[in-house]
């Protein structure tokens, strides 16, 4: 589904990604871990197409297409979803209006008829239940006045509504208490499907207790320096990232 080959990217004048390789197949859950500043968020933003994140080399193939050539909204409509580390507030725009616009933009892209307001409301209320979100949240402005946990849950609600093929979750666990973490993890687990792939970017192993990944990768210095299974995450939690750098230096 996703094939990243020798990806280089910079922010401003600073090179962040320096030859990153990663292959993700449908049905898989990958966790990307790494110390602060290793390029985790940059990877998410590059894949989603944020301006200011300039690709200087390499390629990203998504479902056989050149992902990097697409505008951000086209990537989204093609099924690439980024759950933001810091979801932004959109004052005056109701959550349900926003969700409906996003949902219908996708349907339109796929040549499907748009869903009307009544049908969508029913649909989105069901989805809200999955993330244990009160219907009142649908009428509130997007993320405005939401607590950190509510914002993250709202991201997962969007994920549930849009049902992307490739979900990128950028530090979705940060700032969550244990109950919120379970709800968020549960929302993501429900989405696991042989047709979908999930890439979790996280600093801590904690989330992986609830969402068990198929693969764990360590990102350091803009490259994947180690890959393994779930055990790697446990090891990282125990030993920190230092030993990997030492191993790399020795190699």
């Amino acid at each position: 589904m996703l094939k990243i080959i020798d990806l280089h990217a910079k922010v401003g004048d600073k090179a962040i990604l320096k030859g990153l390789n990663l292959t993700v197949k449908a049905g898989e859950v990958h966790a990307i871990m790494g110390p602060n500043g290793s390029g985790k968020s940059t990877l998410s933003y590059v894949l989603a197409g944020r301006s200011g994140y300039e690709v200087t080399g390499g390629s990203v193939e998504y479902e056989g297409k050149n992902l990097l050539a697409m505008e951000p909204e086209v990537r989204a409509r093609e099924g690439v979803f980024l759950a933001f580390q810091y979801p932004v507030e959109i004052p005056g725009v109701s959550n349900k209006y926003f969700l409906k616009a996003a949902y219908n933009a996708q349907r339109k892209h796929r040549g499907e008829p748009e869903m009307d307001a009544g049908a969508f409301l029913k649909f989105v209320k069901e989805k809200a239940k999955l993330v244990e979100m009160a219907p009142a949240f649908l009428n509130r402005s997007v993320n405005e006045g939401f607590s950190g946990g509510e914002k993250k849950r709202n991201e997962i609600l969007q994920l549930a509504v849009l049902e992307p093929k490739l979900a990128l979750l950028d530090e979705t666990d940060s700032g969550l208490d244990i109950d919120a973490l379970k709800i968020v993890a549960n929302g993501i687990n429900r989405l696991r499907d042989p047709q979908r792939a999930v890439v979790l970017v996280t600093h801590y192993q904690r989330l992986l207790d609830y969402i068990v990944p198929d693969f764990v990768h360590v990102l350091s210095g803009g490259r994947i320096v180690k890959s393994g299974g779930k055990d790697l995450a446990v090891l990282l939690e125990k030993e920190g990232y230092g030993w990997i750098d030492a191993e790399k230096a020795a190699a």
Binding site: S51, A76, I90, A101, Q106, S141
Partner: protein
């Protein structure tokens, strides 16, 4: 931000730029006492009207054009303007079907099919085409309720006693340069009277439209809600594309007697000029309402997206005890548009209350100023005001200015003022695009969200139109 998208959007042309070919009856360019007399004569006015016009004209000669607003434009040559232009009446009109097909076609192009409106939206439409009303609908229903809703010209003939009583009672002919000019030369407009205790059975609406070339528009609207009466009035404008700047100096007067309420909503979409700032309407409007009786209420809601220059301060004089004044405004200045708009709330009666919500959006090279005055007179014990002025900037070459003026002469009053200025965020745009929305839709969504408090005050059909209009008018302003 994809700059090419933005460019493409910015290059879109004014959607309503066309002019229709209707034979016009005009008075030659220029202004003099003779022209004023001729206008009055053409309209078969009684002598009190002519006297009033002449007093206004003579006073106008002593006045100077104001320069205090945050707007800049080349000097207007008042002798180079046609002060009267009317479509030639072909015959007396008994029904909508008899309206000049050209005129009707124009409304169709604007998306305002009168007959459809008649059937579908339950809105009586008094269509002002150029300066003379050519069609009035729903007269019968209104007539049964005792509501008078007609063109100003008809009112002069049919209800001279009401006009003599209320004309100039809120905006006197000496008021200001543009209002005084209007008083001298106004050609037509709308008159509305809601009798005691009557709730107007439908929303009243007038679509203004500038048409004949080089014709200054001098509309005059007078709405009187007698004791316990209520009415909602909608005013919407579009204008055809022109290269020459056109002057528009309208006056709107509202009078609300005890326990009466008037809700006046405007969508103003005059031609704003092209993207280089060429052409466009100069819109110098005086709008004022008087809450004459106790517990009366006047509410102004405006969405100002058009005109090269907007100079407009819909105001309330809160004379009656416990009367209420409201001002909800969205003003957008894109390309080279300049808007200087706001309100005056004059508290005179006891326990009077006013609310001001102003949303200014600046884009391109647009300049947007909020200018407001809240005055609490010594007599206004317990008066309250809340003002909120927010500005949103799209891009880096536009400007937002706020000039609030508070004058409080009574210590038992409460006055609050909040203001904010923000820039449309790259992070907001990216967030929405990551969910599949185009840049255009994302900008529209953010701006419409910003305006929501004001749009919520609009009657439903206007709110829908306002949304669309914002999206059209905004085009391309982010970079």
């Amino acid at each position: 931000m994809a700059n090419q998208d933005v460019k493409d959007l910015a290059d879109k042309e004014y959607k309503y730029g066309f002019s229709s070919d209707v034979e016009a009856d005009q008075i030659a360019k220029g202004l003099s006492e003779d022209v004023v007399r001729l206008i009055s004569k053409k309209k078969n006015e009684p002598s009190f009207m002519l006297d009033w016009r002449l007093k206004a004209y003579r006073h106008w000669l002593t006045m100077k054009e104001p320069t205090w607003a945050e707007v800049h434009y080349p000097a207007i040559d008042y002798q180079n303007i046609i002060y009267y232009s009317a479509p030639k009446p072909k015959k007396k009109l008994a029904s909508m079907d008899e309206v000049d097909p050209e005129v009707r076609a124009t409304f169709e192009k604007l998306g305002i099919p009168l007959e459809e409106q008649k059937m579908l939206s339950n809105v009586a439409v008094d269509a002002v085409f150029d300066s003379v009303s050519v069609a009035t609908t729903f007269k019968k229903t209104l007539g049964e309720a005792g509501v008078i809703f007609c063109s100003f010209s008809d009112a002069v003939k049919e209800h001279p006693e009401l006009l003599e009583k209320y004309l100039g009672s809120v905006v006197p002919y000496t008021d200001n340069f543009f209002a005084t000019l209007n008083s001298a030369v106004f050609s037509d407009g709308s008159f509305c009277y809601i009798p005691k205790g009557v709730k107007c059975p439908m929303e009243l609406s007038t679509y203004f439209r500038i048409n004949a070339k080089d014709t200054g528009q001098f509309e005059r609207t007078l709405i009187v809600a007698d004791e316990g009466a209520s009415v909602s009035y909608l005013e919407g404008c579009t204008a055809p594309m022109r290269d020459e700047n056109q002057l528009h100096a309208a006056v709107v007067e509202l009078v609300a007697m005890g326990d009466a309420s008037i809700k006046y909503s405007t969508i103003q979409n005059w031609y704003p000029g092209d993207k280089n700032g060429k052409g466009g309407i100069y819109n110098f409007v005086t709008k004022r309402g008087k809450c004459a009786g106790p517990r009366s209420k006047i509410s102004w809601t405006q969405v100002e997206t058009g005109s090269a220059i907007t100079w407009k301060y819909p105001s309330c004089i809160l004379l009656g005890d416990e009367s209420v004044g409201e001002f909800y405004s969205v003003a957008l200045a894109n390309h080279y548009q300049q808007a200087d708009t706001g309100t005056k709330m004059i508290h005179i009666g006891k326990n009077t209350k006013s609310t001001i919500i102003s949303k200014g959006i600046s884009a391109g090279h647009g300049q947007n100023a909020y200018r407001g005055q809240v005055k609490i007179a010594k007599s206004a014990a317990g008066a309250r005001n809340h003002s909120q002025c927010d500005s949103l900037l799209l891009g880096s070459q536009c400007g937002a200015h706020t000039f609030p003026n508070l004058e409080v002469h009574n210590t038992s009053s409460t006055v609050e003022h909040e203001a904010s200025t923000s820039k449309i965020g790259e992070d907001q745009l990216f967030y929405l695009r990551q969910r599949g929305l185009s840049t255009e839709d994302a900008v529209g969504m953010i701006v419409n969200g910003f305006c929501k408090q004001v749009f919520n005050e609009l009657p439903l059909e206007f709110a829908v139109e306002a949304h669309k209009l914002m999206n059209i008018s905004l085009e391309g302003s982010v970079g």
